[in-house]
Chain length 222, copies 2
């Protein structure tokens, strides 16, 4: 699942920390025994297998990597407890709030719900913008925990713009986020692992077509 | 908001770590300037104010306390990175999965949805049961991060049983969880801060009546 933003987070963390690994692609239509046994609760990617132990959930994996490989590459979480708490706060905000508003904006039941999702995601982006005030990255001068959390969506931001003509981060309303997407995506460690935008465009178009077909079938009562 | 399970988590963490604090009650119908300015994003309790800095979101506060007061009382998160990842995994599971199934079971739109929520929450409790295998607490011999996450609901488990006659943790299906609720609630540090069950019963009955009235009004098209 190269297209998964959650898989991309783990790849980004590995890349920024300069760690080598073996990547195993998973077919979610026909999940492997390895996936089902290594993540029996959620049965989802990504899963990190390290020293024979399985770690699940993208941001939990990122924290694990940061703790186990504390000496490798830059620390993703800051040393100061308050700054750590703030990093966890914004990473959770991305998952709990921003992401769900994006889903509503693109997968809402009708145009009204989608419009509501777009408004909500714009308001949420404005909140998140505050966390970038006066610094190039959420982590400060360097990429940190929140950059990885949002970075998983960096390639998708461009793909969505190509498919729908919609900028997830409006340069007029959230200029810092709009600039961040470009700045983050230009980093060598990000370029090394972020998927090709055109591939995501194809994935996105296919999903939209499937979603439209399902909605049409539901409307016909099939 | 003494009745909030999220507030109770923070009080539990403070109690188990033996930390003293000033508790300020908040009226959520008329939120104070302090709350609105200290948690401008979510505008929710709990908020921890420490050294003039505001930390929000219950489990982020618990981690903050564990890091800042590493020398005070027992550590809530284990030292081993894999064990830490597992503790974070189950704490997130309680918030993302178990809690939302409970909400559906009690606040579902109709009886069908409520029944679905009850089945789901039973299945999720069975998953969580595995994390208690062969140990008295999620943290092992002592209370840890996951015990605090679930412990915030310990008094509510009893209140719900009194109101609805429903055991959230069925002794037949999830005996370890059923025993854990009793074991956890009997600890001095928990008893010191968990709210009185009868008070929660009154809160729960009032909310149910409000919810029923709102549903009846909606059904009449008001």
């Amino acid at each position: 699942m190269l297209s998964s933003p959650f898989v991309q987070r783990v790849k980004l963390a590995l890349s920024f920390k300069g760690l080598s690994y073996e990547y195993v692609e998973e077919n979610l239509q026909n999940k492997s025994h390895v996936l089902l046994s290594s993540n029996p609760v959620h049965k989802k990617v990504p899963v990190l297998i390290h020293n024979g132990k399985c770690i699940c959930e993208s941001m939990i994996i990122v924290q694990y990597l940061d703790e186990v490989f504390a000496g490798a590459g830059p620390s993703l979480l800051p040393a100061d407890p308050y700054e750590r708490a703030m990093a966890r706060f914004w990473a959770a905000y991305i998952d709990d709030k921003l992401l769900s508003s994006w889903m509503t904006a693109f997968r809402g039941k009708n145009d009204e719900e989608k419009e509501e999702g777009r408004k909500l995601s714009a308001a949420m982006a404005e909140n998140l913008e505050e966390a970038l005030r006066n610094k190039p990255f959420f982590g400060g001068d360097n990429v940190g925990f929140v950059d990885i959390a949002l970075g998983g969506f960096a390639a998708w931001v461009h793909a969505v713009e190509k498919i729908y003509g919609i900028k997830k981060f409006d340069a007029a309303k959230t200029p810092l986020l709009a600039a961040w997407v470009e700045r983050f995506g230009a980093l060598d460690a990000a370029k090394a692992v972020l998927p090709d935008v055109d591939v995501l465009v194809e994935v996105g178009k296919r999903r939209q077509a499937e979603s439209d077909a399902a909605a049409a079938a539901a409307a016909q009562g099939n």
